[in-house]
């Protein structure tokens, strides 16, 4: 009926909008201007579209968009429909501030409101999906208070949320 038609219309325009967004993000990383992105940078494309996948989830996604014979490049042709579906289905939801806080609190065994440098490094580089050294250094450069060698995670979260438009 009419309602169905209108819904379809809206869905189509929504999809069109999403597709434009995906193409834009893709093109920012398409350095050779030939509709391909280095497979190592696809994660950045996916994440800057507002998704928060784990590394494992990202690998699954890559498996869907890679060529039969992996070339090291991802083509827009394959990426577009998959990414559009991801955004439509709202997979890899963002992490709200309070959930993030709980995560840090879970690591804070003594419940003192901060983590020592050693603790943070241990968890981030040995647990979960471990950080590279570069990632660890980057996080510390903003999070660590040099006098005390600790990370007051509540302040850190606040800082990062503000910065992250």
């Amino acid at each position: 009926g009419l309602r169905h038609t209108i819904r379809e219309e809206l869905r189509h325009s929504l999809i069109a909008e999403i597709e434009k967004k995906v193409i834009e993000a893709f093109e920012v990383f398409d350095h050779e201007c030939n509709k391909t992105v280095d497979v190592r940078e696809i994660g950045s494309v996916v994440r800057s579209l507002g998704c928060y996948p784990t590394e494992a989830e990202l690998q699954e996604l890559l498996a869907e968009v890679e060529e039969e014979e992996p070339t090291g490049y991802i083509h827009l042709e394959k990426f577009l429909p998959v990414m559009t579906r991801v955004l439509l289905e709202r997979s890899y939801q963002p992490i709200p501030e309070d959930v993030l806080l709980h995560a840090f609190e879970a690591l804070d065994e003594n419940k003192c409101g901060y983590l020592t440098k050693e603790e943070l490094v241990k968890y981030m580089t040995e647990e979960g999906e471990p950080f590279t050294q570069e990632e660890m250094e980057d996080m510390l450069s903003a999070a660590l208070e040099p006098e005390t060698n600790t990370v007051c995670y509540k302040d850190y979260i606040t800082l990062m949320i503000v910065d992250d438009v």
Binding site: E17, E24, V28, V46, A106, L107, F131
Partner: protein, 710 residues
């Protein structure tokens, strides 16, 4: 690698870690996106500026082709516009920029120069500039004179050999950033008999110390002529300088600089294996031609491509001039021209004035053509126009057209490499080509070269390879767009021709900031520039938005917003990515465009301030404006329409780097349409200024064509 089933507590810890890591990686990716977008914003605005300049030029070229000046004043104006880069003869130049008669007062505490220059002069100069002192105009002019004399003896392509000096250091764009030059000298040492340097163009514009950079480079050039080599860049061009504000020095200095820039060599070759040019190459790059052309004839490389014999008209008017009515006098003129000529077809009857004038004009035109061909080789006089006659300078050499020569220079000064194969017009810059890896390969093979070094493009790390490491871009102006935007670099080559890079950043504060802070800061700057640009297109944006808002609700979807903005600004930016930092959307995902534009306007200077600034500018330029009006007013009615005025003003103001609302212009125009008939009687318009308070203040104000009193 399978993990064993973790214990519950550990499970919770593991989950927490994954969550944090997941969140952090997303943050970093977003930062990377922001960084790239910021870069794109700066680049697209920069290149759009260059495009504007060229658009203005094409506009005037077009006018030139179709306009016949009707007064000596107008002829002067046109001459100044296009021939203002005239190449003086040595004696004339000396007379004009007579520095010897300039007195250096006792109160002057700056450095003194005497010629021939010695190494001590160079170091003294550096010290003086570090203390923020200035060099007296007399010494500047003297230096420029000597530099010109020196450059004249140099070939178009400098040859450097690594067997004489162990290493050659190549520096890229400096753009008036003296601190970077200081840093390079500090890290690498001053030029000396054992330390060779090549400076690859774009010494001036944008940065605040362009003149100082020129002084330093020219001084070292004269002190160590065998070790210091300068290549011309696209900014060593007075038409480009006009746009970017280098034209703030005295008229004499500016004139001298014009006559020095055109003598800068075009390229440098190291060991016959490494070619250094400022921009790049094209598939038609011909080093043999480049070596042989008379480079100094190309004072400005920024010209319209095809031009009719418009300057001919100027001469013809002179000859025909007042004696239009006197047919016999005109005939006499035609007959008494220097060279004999084949008999023209039967002259039309003198009773048909129009026909006769036309015929005479034609004859005279041919005469001038012939004279020019003969005179061309000897004369070093005013710059020649770009009609495509054959260069008669060397009868034994291949004959190239002026057009071909011009293209060679344009290509090496303005081209950019691209990843795709092929060679196409560089429409973004408006000059030169985009050249692909196949073009690089072809040219390298043709001349048995190993690789190219070029500059012209800002790179985040100060340098970048492309085309399988066959093309190296080196850029020496750090923090070019904004503090923290990029590093500068220089490259050293030894006899093995293996490049070694040194990077630096001239501002200390950049180091103490975190990655986030650095990116934020540069980003702020980029967005500020972008918002200014958006503001300047307010009227066009409103029209574009309204097309998506037929019901006049004042709101549009974010998607339509992005499409509309791109259609107006044409910067090729990822607007959907940028939108969150430019405009807030309502809860329903729509954007209230009217209030958004109002917010933008508030951020810029107040309307009032702009208005008075505009009036001031108009007043200062009224004689030029008058001329422009006459050019536009084809039917000589004394009236021009709003639209015509608007078009003219837009081009004019983009050249002047004034960003104004279309509304501002419209308001102004309406206020001077005294009889409200939609036309501007520009006589009335100009008279209106007689009564303004700007009268006395602006008496001494300068014109925008370089003619500032020193």
């Amino acid at each position: 690698k399978r993990k064993r089933e973790p214990a519950p507590v550990h499970f919770a810890l593991n989950n927490a870690a994954v969550l944090i890591q997941r969140w952090y990686r997303r943050y970093v990716a977003r930062l990377e996106m922001r960084r790239r977008c910021t870069w794109r914003i700066f680049q697209s605005i920069e290149y759009a500026c260059e495009q504007d300049q060229i658009k203005l030029h094409n506009f005037f070229s077009y006018l030139m082709d179709h306009f016949t000046p009707s007064s000596s004043k107008e002829r002067d104006f046109i001459s100044r516009m296009f021939v203002s880069g005239e190449s003086f003869k040595e004696a004339e130049l000396e007379k004009y920029c007579d520095y010897e008669s300039m007195e250096v007062p006792d109160s002057y505490t700056g450095p003194h120069l005497s010629f021939p220059l010695l190494p001590d002069h160079a170091t003294t100069l550096l010290e003086a500039f570090k203390r923020k002192q200035q060099l007296h105009a007399r010494y500047v002019l003297n230096l420029l004179h000597e530099t010109r004399k020196h450059l004249k003896q140099l070939p178009n392509i400098s040859h450097v050999s690594t067997c004489y000096s162990e290493e050659v250091t190549v520096c890229g764009d400096l753009h008036g950033q003296l601190d970077d030059l200081f840093l390079i000298f500090y890290k690498n040492g001053l030029p000396s008999p054992s330390k060779s340097y090549v400076f690859n163009g774009d010494f001036v514009d944008r940065g605040k110390q362009s003149l100082e950079i020129l002084i330093v480079l020219f001084t070292f050039l004269l002190v160590y002529p065998n070790e210091v080599h300068l290549n011309r860049g696209n900014h060593e061009d007075h038409m480009v300088n006009l746009r970017y504000g280098f034209s703030v020095h005295g008229r004499k200095i500016l004139k001298m600089i014009q006559n020095v820039f055109c003598w800068l060599p075009l390229a440098t070759l190291i060991d016959q294996k490494v070619l250094i040019i400022h921009g790049g190459i094209s598939d038609t790059t011909d080093l043999d031609m480049l070596e042989k052309i008379q480079r100094h004839k190309f004072i400005s490389v920024l010209r319209g491509k095809k031009r009719k014999e418009s300057n001919r008209n100027v001469e013809i008017q002179e000859i025909i001039g007042e004696s239009k009515a006197d047919a016999s006098a005109a005939e006499h003129d035609a007959a008494s021209s220097p060279s004999p000529q084949p008999q023209p077809a039967q002259a039309p009857s003198m009773t048909n004035r129009l026909e006769f004038s036309k015929w005479v004009r034609q004859m005279v035109q041919e005469q001038i053509e012939r004279c020019r061909q003969l005179v061309d080789s000897e004369s070093e006089e005013e710059e020649l126009t770009y009609s495509s006659f054959v260069s008669m300078t060397d009868l034994n050499a291949p004959c190239w057209t002026r057009q071909e020569e011009w293209k060679q220079i344009l290509d090496i000064l303005w081209s950019d490499p691209m990843p795709q194969e092929g060679c196409r017009e560089n429409t973004v810059r408006g000059g030169g080509c985009y050249f692909g890896p196949d073009v690089t390969k072809k040219i390298l093979e043709k001349y048995s070269l190993q690789f190219l070094i070029r500059s012209h493009e800002c790179k985040q790390e100060g340098y970048e390879f492309c085309h399988s490491r066959k093309v190296l871009t080196i850029f020496s102006a750090s923090n070019y767009y904004e503090i923290g935007s990029n590093r500068g670099a220089y490259v050293k080559l030894g006899p093995d021709l293996v490049p070694h890079f040194v990077q630096y950043q001239a501002n200390k504060t950049a180091h103490t900031l975190t990655m986030t802070q650095r990116i934020s800061r540069v980003e702020e700057s980029a967005f500020r520039a972008l918002r200014e640009k958006l503001f300047a297109h307010t009227s066009a944006l409103i029209s574009a938005f309204k097309a998506y808002d037929k019901d006049g609700t004042g709101r549009i979807t974010l998607s339509n917003w992005a499409t509309a903005v791109e259609s107006v600004l044409r910067l090729g930016l990822p607007w959907r990515m940028l939108r969150p930092q430019l405009a807030h959307s309502m809860a329903d995902g729509m954007l209230e465009y009217k209030s958004w534009l109002e917010d933008l306007a508030m951020e810029q200077q107040s309307q009032e301030h702009i208005q008075s600034g505009l009036l001031e500018v108009i007043y200062r330029n009224r004689s030029n404006l008058e001329t422009i009006f006459r050019i536009i007013d084809r039917d000589h009615s004394g009236l021009i329409s709003f639209e015509e005025f608007h078009q003219t003003w837009k081009l004019f103001s983009s050249h002047m780097n004034i960003e104004l609302t279309d509304d501002g212009i419209n308001d102004l125009v309406r206020s001077i349409d005294f009889n409200k008939d939609g036309n501007i009687d520009f006589n009335e318009f100009l008279e209106a200024f007689q009564e303004t308070e700007f009268n006395s203040d602006c008496q001494k104000a300068s014109n925008w064509v370089p003619s500032l009193e020193s």
